[in-house]
């Protein structure tokens, strides 16, 4: 590991309670800048809980989180210094279907620095950035629709545009490609690659698609309430690690899938 660089994100001994049970127990890891890290694990493993507790959406029982060198508290909002440096794409995006918000307006919200400002501040730059972001996820034709009028995959794309409408240091994606069609999925991984390689973003993504993880990610974190293993895909996705994470019968399933 590179000791001289501060990690983009470092999580230390994170323990989170959801309802009666502990959803996460003493999870520690850190992200190096410019890497694409996948979190994998079975359903209910606490993957979403992990990213939500990093961002303060779910409160932590124990442990500390540092983002871009700033310690985060769940009591307080994200510090101003990191606020615009991180984007989050949630797994479930629940909105009131009656809210009259258009796609353009949603994406523009991603661009805004949410301080005190005039509503028409920097309208031009904003409009341009929104157009570009929509084009990038092939959703320019959706701009004037209400967000409640989108199909599942369209919603995912719009959220992606919301995340990348402004340049960030950390992109946190919770099952972003689920619901995308085959072609958009490929575009999506291509996009992540560009963001990482060309713009130096760090990416933390929750994924169930082990093939893609193996092919695209730099590091993998295997989670099942505890941290089961982490490392480069070759080692982390080795059968014994996967068996530890997903349970004993796992290898058979993998075999099944790949019998093509």
């Amino acid at each position: 590991m590179n000791i001289s660089k501060t990690p983009v994100l470092s999580v230390d001994q994170l323990t989170v309670r959801r309802g009666q049970q502990l959803a996460l127990q003493a999870v520690s890891f850190s992200l190096e800048a410019g890497t694409d890290v996948a979190i994998i694990g079975p359903n209910g493993a606490g993957k979403s809980t992990l990213v939500q507790s990093i961002l303060g959406i779910v409160s932590r029982e124990q442990g500390t989180v540092q983002l871009l060198g700033q310690p985060l508290s769940t009591k307080k909002a994200l510090p101003a210094a990191v606020r615009h440096q991180v984007a989050y794409l949630p797994q479930n995006f629940l909105v009131d279907r009656r809210l009259p918000l258009t796609v353009t307006e949603l994406v523009a919200l991603g661009w805004d620095k949410l301080g005190i400002q005039l509503p028409w501040a920097k309208a031009k730059a904003r409009k341009l950035a929104v157009q570009q972001a929509l084009a990038r996820v092939e959703a320019s034709h959706l701009g004037r629709k209400f967000i409640s009028e989108l199909s599942g995959g369209e919603t995912k794309r719009i959220l992606l545009a919301y995340c990348l409408v402004r340049s960030r240091q950390l992109l946190i994606l919770d099952e972003a490609p689920a619901g995308l069609d085959v072609r958009s999925e490929a575009d999506f991984y291509q996009l992540l690659y560009e963001l990482k390689a060309e713009q130096g973003w760090t990416i933390l993504q929750v994924s169930h698609d082990l093939d893609m993880v193996r092919k695209h990610c730099d590091r993998v974190i295997c989670l099942n309430r505890r941290l089961m293993c982490q490392g480069v895909p070759e080692t982390a996705l080795a059968p014994e690690n996967l068996t530890a994470t997903y349970g004993p019968e796992f290898v058979r399933y993998r075999h099944n899938r790949h019998a093509c």
């Binding site: 961002l55 994200l78 101003a80 989050y88 918000l101 258009t102 307006e105 949410l114 005190i116």
Partner: protein
């Protein structure tokens, strides 16, 4: 119906001019705040506050305080209390408002039935008297409009994101609870101040109806917000004019104007949908 010149003649009286200006100012404020209030399911906030204010006043009287000094601090406390309860109990917002509403009524009746307090009518706050608007009230309405426009204008993005999805808002560093409280305090300030001259009924209608009508007309959020304010002002003016023309009580006339607008919007939507 009076003839038009008689009706127009009424507008030469200062009280009518003040009613018109006051109505338009409150219409604008109500429309601006209302567009968020309605989406956040706080439609009955004014009614709940209005009935609780009565409790505040009676308690103030019990402790020997001047009612008009009690109302504003009470309204702010109310805003904090309700926001806190919504946050902590995780109960449907409208149900919570209903609980607050029934309970304050019940408590005030009980407090009043104890001896030594002076009787203030439950319904005193229901109907204000837009014709009794004082020049000072206009100043206050103007200030509140300014305050609301500034608040909503300058934090517009934050308000929208917060209304859209709480998780996204937190992930963007928005202090959700603080913003909720701020909004509720502003709303309660506006409602509490307007109640004494306009009455609960009219304040509630100003907040809810133009926003709902605007919702049916608009194809994006900005137009929703602006239209809501415009419809609020326009329906106030129209209502006052009708009230003069047909010699009807002013407050209810404004509500009827708003209702007509809403039904028009409904009709238009029906017609477009088919």
């Amino acid at each position: 119906m009076q003839d038009l010149s008689t009706a127009l003649n009424l507008f030469t009286y200062p009280f009518m001019q003040r009613a018109l200006i006051g109505g338009v100012l409150t219409g604008l404020t109500g429309g601006i705040l209302g567009s968020f209030t309605v989406v956040r399911q706080l439609s009955f906030f004014s009614d709940a506050l209005g009935h609780s204010a009565l409790l505040g006043i009676s308690l103030g009287v019990v402790f020997g305080l001047n009612p008009s000094l009690v109302v504003l601090p009470f309204a702010l406390l109310f805003a904090v209390g309700v926001t806190y309860l919504i946050e902590k109990t995780d109960i449907w917002t409208d149900a919570l408002l209903n609980i607050v509403y029934s309970s304050s009524l019940a408590i005030s009746i009980i407090v009043l039935s104890l001896e030594g307090t002076y009787q203030t009518g439950i319904n005193n706050l229901l109907f204000g008297d837009i014709l009794g608007v004082l020049p000072g009230d206009l100043l206050i309405s103007g200030l509140l409009l300014l305050l609301s426009s500034l608040f909503v204008g300058l934090t517009l993005r934050t308000q929208v994101l917060l209304t859209l999805n709480e998780d996204l808002a937190i992930a963007r560093g928005i202090h959700v609870f603080a913003h909720r409280i701020a909004f509720m305090m502003l709303l309660s300030l506006v409602v509490a101040t307007a109640i004494s001259s306009l009455g609960v009924l009219l304040v509630g209608a100003f907040v809810v109806i133009p926003a709902c009508a605007a919702r049916l007309f608009s194809r994006n959020f900005s137009s929703y917000l602006i239209l809501s304010a415009v419809l609020g002002a326009a329906s106030a003016a129209a209502g006052i004019f009708f009230s003069a023309l047909f010699n009807l009580p002013t407050g209810p006339s404004i509500v009827i104007a708003q209702l007509s607008l809403f039904l028009l919007a409904t009709g238009k939507k029906q017609w477009l949908d088919s």
